[in-house]
């Protein structure tokens, strides 16, 4: 399935990708700033979800706590900018680096466990991160969050920041795409399908799992840092269970075994979110119903659902 996808990519899909990027680049001309920032938020969420999907969809390691690492990225950048005079670019880079360092520690523990225990442990760690951010008032300003984070003046306009993050996001997605199609990516898929067998083709399973945990953590950190610059405020609920679930739902909504699934998912998700939140206070209620509908009727997410309907019968199904 993947190699067919790759062939398609060679012929014509590159053009589609370029058209898409161009369309996003032209959006600021058409859209008002309010909508533009919505698109920006959506793209950042897409990076986080793609990072998570690398681990969850490709390597089959279900994390319940991706938001923890996302918050580490956001807080690192935010705290550096507020407390020190370190230039913006370095602060922005520090977010993912810190998230990577934290993933080394967290991942080192987590990959020792499998199945549900792995998932529970990721949840526990993200809750610890949340607790630290929430309770360490003197440093992280607890519930008040870190507000009015200084951003260089040329990035403070929404349009400029949009272009900046669009470039960053395209780079991230390209890198992730390379990883997915690399021998490492293939090995991860083998690992998801059958860890026992993978071990006996000479793969050190834990080491690969740790590697993907860290890579995924770095991308979550990038998303966090980008969001910090975008929002100029960070809050402890970046690390809470709701945020984690949001990312998982985005992955699932788009289709978990598909590279662009999370991107599609984040578009659908943000659209629903804004549409419903502007009409009613009961967004969680609707979100809950959406999740249930997804689980029961659309196992492959939007992308999976569409390709299933389009695909000739009897092929490609596993």
């Amino acid at each position: 399935m993947m190699s067919e996808f790759l062939k398609e990519m060679k012929s014509g899909k590159w053009i589609a990708v370029l058209v898409c990027v161009a369309a996003f680049a032209l959006l600021p001309i058409v859209l008002q700033e309010g909508y533009l920032s919505l698109v920006n938020e959506m793209l950042i969420l897409a990076v986080a979800a793609c990072g998570l999907n690398l681990m969850m969809g490709y390597a089959g390691m279900v994390s319940f706590g991706p938001a923890g690492l996302y918050a580490v990225g956001a807080y690192t950048t935010g705290l550096i900018l507020v407390y020190t005079k370190i230039p913006f670019w370095l602060a922005l880079a520090a977010g993912p680096i810190m998230a990577g360092v934290v993933s080394v520690v967290v991942g080192w523990f987590c990959v020792r466990l499998t199945h549900v225990y792995f998932s529970l442990l990721t949840l526990a760690f993200s809750q610890i991160i949340h607790t630290i951010l929430f309770e360490w008032y003197d440093f992280t300003r607890g519930d008040d969050g870190i507000v009015d984070i200084p951003v260089p003046s040329f990035l403070s306009s929404i349009t400029h920041y949009y272009y900046f993050s669009l470039v960053a996001i395209c780079v991230c997605l390209f890198v992730l795409w390379k990883i997915v199609n690399s021998p490492f990516g293939k090995t991860l898929q083998a690992l998801r399908e059958n860890p026992e067998r993978t071990e006996f083709i000479g793969i050190n399973v834990r080491r690969y799992q740790l590697a993907v945990f860290i890579i995924s953590g770095v991308f979550l950190g990038i998303a966090g840092a980008l969001y910090c610059g975008f929002n100029k405020n960070v809050f402890p609920d970046f690390a809470d269970m709701m945020k984690s679930t949001e990312m998982i739902v985005v992955c699932l909504m788009g289709g978990i075994y598909n590279f662009l699934g999370p991107v599609v998912g984040s578009v659908v998700y943000m659209f629903l979110d804004k549409l419903i939140s502007s009409n009613t206070h009961y967004w969680p209620l609707v979100l809950g119903c959406v999740i249930i509908a997804l689980l029961i009727f659309m196992r492959g997410g939007v992308v999976g659902f569409v390709s299933e309907k389009l695909a000739p019968r009897g092929e490609e199904r596993g």
Partner: protein, 246 residues
């Protein structure tokens, strides 16, 4: 001598699954282990391939002590294994199934940014051709017929470029016709690649048809060892198998 097993022992709780097993394998030898269910055959394989650690005893591969190595390290020494239950990567294509194994053994798996689909294509196709699945290379492995999945399993094992292969019931669940094809394939591959083979098998026709040496396991120990004719004539072996059937 390619493999030497010395006094291997493993107990689970109070149960001794493998008890004092010693044997040698010569290079290029084609031999099998038979025995009733629960005799400890699969446990023995799991010990030899590092999936479980023996309580006592040593395993020497080409005169190197590999006792207690993790499976991935055992595999890198040049020991391959196929599994009793079909053990493939169902959502990858046939081609990718074999390719990941070759990538791993060539130490290319860590490469993050090269494009996998263009790597080691020749090597992968060679193996697919020798197991007769070249034409199905783009089929999702999980959709193959059972017999083809078993062949693919052998293909993955070959991808790790082994010198010694343990086959755990390679013909399980195959029709008699498929079984014979698989057996011929295994024999041919062993000749072509100069492999040493040790397999567990239930199908007695297969066992006595191709093995040069047969070992009989019972209650965790090796009870008899010798040429197929000698083992078939052994009184104690007959007694166990008769008891099993009644």
């Amino acid at each position: 001598m390619i493999l030497r097993v010395e006094k291997l022992k493993k107990t689970f709780g109070g149960l001794t699954a493998v008890n004092d097993v010693s044997f040698d394998l010569m290079e290029g030898e084609l031999s099998s282990i038979i025995g009733p269910n629960g005799a400890g055959k699969t446990t023995l394989f799991n010990l030899l391939t590092g999936h479980i650690r023996p309580d006592e005893g040593r395993i020497l591969f080409k005169e190197r002590d590999i006792t207690g190595f993790q499976p991935d390290r055992v595999c890198r020494q040049g020991i391959g294994r196929s599994f009793q239950r079909t053990n493939i990567f169902p959502k990858l294509t046939v081609f990718e199934n074999v390719q990941v194994a070759i990538l791993s053994i060539r130490r290319k798996s860590r490469s993050l940014f090269s494009t996998a689909s263009r790597m080691l294509v020749g090597e992968t196709m060679e193996i697919l051709e020798s197991i007769g699945l070249a034409e199905k290379r783009n089929v999702t492995a999980g959709l193959l017929a059972h017999g083809d999945q078993r062949l693919l399993e052998i293909g993955i094992t070959l991808g790790t470029n082994p010198e010694l292969v343990f086959l755990d019931e390679p013909t399980a669940g195959m029709s008699p016709e498929e079984s014979w094809k698989a057996v011929e394939l295994v024999q041919r591959l062993a000749r072509e690649r100069n492999l040493t083979l040790l397999f567990i098998e239930h199908d007695m026709e297969v066992v006595f048809g191709i093995s040069e040496k047969v070992r009989v396991m019972h209650l965790g120990s090796i009870l008899a060892e010798g040429t197929p004719e000698a083992v078939r004539a052994d009184e104690e072996v007959q007694r166990i198998y008769l008891a099993e059937e009644t």
